[in-house]
């Protein structure tokens, strides 16, 4: 029995070490790009597209469920975007509050019998409205069908060749859309999806879609999420994008080639991770067609979102994310370690399975071993100690490194006190935040077996003034 625990604990130690090193390896891949892009004067690099009539027009889709508090300010921020040609489509997915009423009142909307194409079947469309002040602002009122269904309805109504999906509670910077469209325009359509960096707005002052003052929130739970975002975006996504094997474009904000999405069948209504699932399906389509088109990530922050401050909301968010990841990997299990799908099948899918999904299971086992070693003599206390030490390495020190790497490349937080606070909280990760995440992520895997798609509700305070 003892030898069984010894082998298991050695395996977990090796796994945690491997994971830590893989993060470092990924960062090494991404470092130069982050550093270069950050030095670029963006106004100069995007204005050439702003004045060009050949810049692709974009349909902005805003799925909304019970968003009466923020939907109008979100649409107003979208109207203020610097972009040559756009339309804004809000999809009210059977809200029980005044989401539609607010839109209709604020934008003087009138009901129109819109002759849209049903590229993808959706739940029943109740009515379509058009603003009489801004004819390119529309509202779809539909029966509840989930976020994926709402986005599909938006795709059906949209007129333009590219669409941007943005969460109702997110604030896009004025030049966010043009920055995200830049790789698509520059590649003459060879890039079919772009995802931008999403930043946490809690603590910062945002006014009229512009971040006036970047500051840190007081709540440690939110600070830890900021650190987590550093690690995910700065290390994970950028490196995978460099290799054209990025599987996640944040649901909060992404731009897609509509024709390709329709070809892939639109968003999947049967998963809560519809954003990731769509990207994986698009990869699959590209690989099966042997297409040279690609999916890219823009490291510059383009979108600000509100992070949950309560543990309860954070828990349900993480369970949903993990469940979405599990469902996506399961749906596309055929791609796993399949050379036919190139680096996506051989590198990216295993990375998401072993590091992002099963990492939580291995870590949980590690916690059992540590406690078992100390209290129940299941394993040698020395081995438990090693495991404890490696867990700190895996959690706190890698997160602290992510903070330092952010400062080395992007340095978006202006004060030294910001750096110190971020670093300090990152060091505490292994002792409180990470165990919570591990438990919720394991719960998320179990939750995947209960099929019921729903919106991720969160009580909003609003992030824009």
């Amino acid at each position: 029995m003892n030898s069984f625990f010894l082998i298991l604990s050695s395996f977990i130690i090796a796994y945690l070490l491997f994971s830590s090193l893989s993060y470092l390896g990924l960062f090494a891949l991404a470092f130069q790009k982050v550093k270069n892009e950050n030095n670029l004067v963006h106004r100069e690099s995007t204005e050439v597209f702003l004045r060009n009539q050949n810049t692709y027009p974009v349909s902005i889709l805003v799925p909304a469920y019970n968003e009466e508090v923020g939907v109008v300010s979100t649409v107003r921020s979208l109207l203020a975007l610097d972009y040559p040609q756009k339309e804004v489509i809000v999809i009210d997915d059977g809200s029980k509050d005044m989401t539609s009423a607010e839109m209709i009142k604020e934008f003087k909307m009138v009901q129109i019998p819109f002759a849209f194409r049903t590229h993808i079947p959706t739940a029943e469309i109740v009515a379509i409205y058009q603003s009489s002040i801004f004819p390119y602002v529309r509202l779809i009122k539909k029966a509840n069908g989930g976020k994926a269904d709402a986005l599909n309805a938006g795709i059906n109504l949209s007129a333009f060749p590219y669409f941007c999906a943005i969460d109702g509670d997110s604030i896009l910077e004025n030049d966010g859309l043009i920055k995200t469209m830049k790789p698509i325009i520059e590649s003459d359509g060879q890039v079919i999806v772009t995802g931008g960096s999403v930043r946490i707005a809690n603590g910062s002052t945002i006014s009229r879609s512009k971040v006036e003052v970047v500051d840190l929130p007081r709540h440690p739970v939110v600070i830890m999420q900021i650190v987590e975002y550093f690690r995910a975006f700065l290390i994970g996504r950028l490196a995978l994008s460099q290799l054209n094997i990025l599987l996640i474009v944040s649901g909060a904000f992404g731009v897609f080639n509509k024709e390709r999405v329709i070809q892939a069948g639109g968003y999947n209504k049967n998963t809560v991770g519809e954003d990731m699932e769509l990207v994986v399906r698009l990869h699959r389509l590209l690989r099966e067609e042997k297409s040279k088109q690609r999916i890219e990530y823009v490291p510059d922050p383009v979108c600000w979102t509100e992070a949950p401050e309560s543990l309860e909301v954070l828990r349900s968010q993480r369970i949903r994310w993990q469940r979405g990841l599990f469902e996506t990997l399961w749906t596309h299990r055929k791609m796993m370690l399949n050379p036919k799908y190139g680096a996506v099948g051989m590198l990216s899918m295993p990375y998401f399975l072993f590091i992002e999904l099963l990492g939580a299971v291995f870590e949980l086992l590690g916690y059992f071993m540590i406690f078992g070693g100390f209290f129940f003599s299941l394993i040698d206390p020395n081995v438990a100690l090693v495991m404890f030490v490696v867990t700190i390495l895996y959690g706190s020190l890698i997160s602290a490194l992510a903070v330092l790497l952010e400062e080395l490349t992007l340095h978006k937080y202006p004060r030294i006190s910001h750096l110190m606070r971020l670093y300090f909280w990152a060091l505490t990760e292994a002792f409180w935040y990470r165990p919570l995440m591990v438990i919720w992520r394991v719960q998320g895997i179990f939750a995947a077996f209960h099929k019921k798609a729903h919106w991720g509700d969160m009580k909003r305070k609003g992030i824009s003034t």
């Binding site: 270069n36 690099s45 009138v110 058009q130 003459d188 330092l404």
Partner: protein
């Protein structure tokens, strides 16, 4: 591997991080201090700079800038801000003069810098400040470049903005040069050279189709009516993409010498041609085509139906026509589209 190895690993990583944290904090402190100084100097010079830009005889700014420690950075910011505000409306010789005097050496170094973003920024600023003295250096750089990457593209734009039409022939070296880049080049040329180059592109377009497409597209975008007969000639071209570009240009120019030129396009096998023909008929309010637009309302392609209905709204009696078609058109989709546009017209009147 025993416990000491792992403790040593943790200690090593932690100590390296503490060292890095210290270094980064110090860097941040210095950067913040420098930024504060630059901002103060910028604020202090703004008034005399504005005054100098409006009246060059007021030379207070020239004396002040010589005393500033972060001279080139402050000047770059002042000029950049000025150019951003006045872009497209005013071209100032002072911008060129100041940048030539204070920034040339710095930019020469930066163009050779290893950091890609710094080289790119330098190219943007040279373009914005019209620093002609750097033209020979940029030309050399272009000759050495073999790939049309983002930097080469910006190099071509910058050189063109310094009125170097050779960039068109340089661009022709790259088989993968996109239409938008040719358009960017046309846009930056001075008017007389631009007209010459457009004329040449239309004449010798068979050698470079992308160039010709760009020329046709650019003429439409900028409304160069003098080229209308040449654009109309392109409607007879064998190249479908070129015909589409010509139709698009006519739509932008909002004029056609003989509306009958459009007739073949209403029945074209290409839906894009049918769509643009419908749009032009609407934009130019060519009422003789109302009947054909009514037919196109039942086209098999959504965009053609959409554009035909939109075209019908442009006519004075469009609402009546759409109302009639929404009730009587034999095609179900055409009726839906007519209903949508009829309602949209009502909405816009409320």
């Amino acid at each position: 591997m025993n416990i000491y190895f792992f403790w040593a690993l943790i200690a090593f990583l932690f100590l390296s991080q503490v060292f890095l944290l210290g270094a980064l904090s110090l860097r941040k402190l210095l950067m913040n201090h420098k930024e504060k100084t630059i901002s103060q100097q910028y604020d202090r010079l703004t008034e005399s700079f504005s005054s100098y830009m409006m009246d060059p005889t007021d030379d207070r700014f020239l004396k002040e800038i010589d005393t500033v420690s972060n001279q080139s950075v402050v000047l770059e910011r002042l000029l950049n801000h000025y150019v951003a505000i006045t872009k497209g409306s005013v071209t100032s010789s002072q911008v060129s003069q100041l940048s030539e005097k204070y920034l040339t050496e710095r930019y020469k170094k930066q163009l050779k810098c290893n950091n890609w973003a710094i080289r790119m920024n330098t190219l943007y600023f040279i373009e914005d400040f019209h620093m002609k003295s750097l033209s020979p250096l940029l030309k050399k750089k272009l000759q050495k470049s073999f790939r049309l990457n983002l930097e080469t593209q910006q190099l071509i734009r910058t050189l063109t903005s310094l009125n170097e039409p050779m960039t068109l022939s340089a661009l022709a070296r790259y088989a993968d040069a996109p239409v938008r880049l040719y358009i960017d080049v046309f846009k930056r040329l001075e008017l007389d050279i631009q007209l010459e180059e457009l004329d040449a592109a239309l004449k010798h377009g068979h050698n470079n189709k992308v160039l010709k497409h760009a020329a046709v597209s650019y003429i439409g975008m900028t409304g160069l009516m003098g080229f209308l007969p040449r654009i109309e000639e392109e409607l007879l071209s064998d190249d479908e993409e070129l015909r589409i570009q010509a139709l698009k240009s006519i739509q932008h120019l909002q004029y056609i010498s003989s509306p009958s030129l459009l007739i073949p396009f209403f029945h074209s096998t290409s839906w894009q041609e049918r769509m643009f023909a419908a749009r032009i008929a609407g934009k130019l309010q060519l009422s003789r085509f109302q009947e054909v637009l009514s037919e196109l309302l039942g086209d098999s392609v959504w965009w053609v139906r959409y554009s035909s209905a939109e075209a019908l709204t442009q006519f004075a009696d469009g609402d009546i026509l759409l109302s009639h078609l929404s009730a009587t058109h034999p095609d179900r989709y055409a009726r839906d589209m007519a209903t949508q546009w009829e309602a949209s017209l009502l909405g816009s009147e409320e």
